[in-house]
């Protein structure tokens, strides 16, 4: 490290050298901080998770009551009622689809996993099923603009699309499908 300077050594050139050396040391210390600062900024920008909840049910239409009851217990006070009812409706449609479509050929013991995650201004609902791959985007594309009013089925997906701010149905690495519904709100 440094040696103490004696008063005798206080010549301008020496001081200059010393100043430069200190500056170099300082740079060496400060420069590695920049990536850390960037990381901190990045972390601040990502949404903080408030809480995440999971439920597993069987492939059973009558489990809807249990699913809705469970969902209602999770309600955060900051969420406006209309938003909550919309999410509940979308969740019910997603669940129905898992039972009636994804798991159509599968036994009733086949589990359906549901996860609800709350963020400060949004909530995310995920439903995992063990059905075969299904291209939701393509399905949505080929749906008629207006569903025939008198049609007796096929509204579920359209309802989810109308309610959700973001909707996706993707294949997971463990060979399942994950339905993701995202809804934002202003508290």
């Amino acid at each position: 490290m440094t040696q103490r300077l004696d008063l005798m050594d206080l010549q301008p050139s020496l001081l200059q050298q010393e100043a430069e050396r200190i500056n170099r040391e300082r740079s060496q210390l400060v420069n590695p901080l920049q990536p850390i600062k960037n990381l901190v900024l990045k972390i601040k920008k990502t949404k903080p998770i408030i809480q995440s909840f999971q439920l597993q049910v069987n492939t059973d239409l009558s489990a809807l009551a249990q699913v809705l009851f469970w969902f209602d217990q999770l309600r955060q006070p900051s969420i406006p009622n209309t938003i909550w009812l919309g999410c509940k409706t979308a969740l019910a449609e997603g669940f129905d689809n898992a039972v009636c479509h994804a798991h159509q050929q599968l036994p009733p013991e086949t589990p359906i996993d549901i996860e609800v995650t709350f963020f400060t201004q949004s909530l995310e609902i995920r439903i995992w099923d063990s059905g075969s791959a299904f291209d939701l985007e393509a399905h949505l594309q080929q749906l008629p603009e207006e569903i025939d009013e008198t049609a007796e089925s096929g509204r579920g997906v359209k309802i989810m699309q109308q309610i959700a701010d973001y909707l996706s149905y993707t294949r997971t690495p463990d060979n399942r499908n994950c339905l993701l519904i995202i809804k934002s709100y202003s508290p």
Partner: protein
């Protein structure tokens, strides 16, 4: 001419299964002579699209038989799903039984 009005009063969650039960109840009531059926949703807590599908087919059968079906007392969630699917154009709904009586029976 006198119309026979019967009220049907389902409760709880109306999904495909429970609405099928409701459909049978409505069909029974019409078989027994009702001309007008009012489905009172006062105690219905939730409805999904499967339930709606069954309700629509019930409406068509009722109308095909020359009878009428009305609904009343929908809660916010049921109103929401009706609006999203434009069912508010297909069904005649009333705020409550009193409104139904006022507007349908008295005329």
């Amino acid at each position: 001419m006198n119309f026979i009005v019967k009220i049907v009063h389902p409760s709880g969650i109306l999904n495909g299964v429970s609405t099928n039960k409701l459909r049978r109840e409505i069909s029974d009531v019409i078989d027994k002579g009702a001309d007008i059926v009012l489905v009172d949703f006062q105690d219905v807590t939730f409805m999904n699209s499967s339930g709606l599908g069954v309700l629509i087919s019930t409406l068509r059968v009722v109308q095909a038989g020359g009878n009428q079906l009305f609904i009343c007392s929908l809660n916010e969630q049921v109103k929401m799903i009706f609006e999203l699917t434009k069912m508010n154009c297909v069904f005649k709904t009333f705020a409550n039984r009193e409104e139904f009586e006022q507007k349908v029976l008295i005329n």
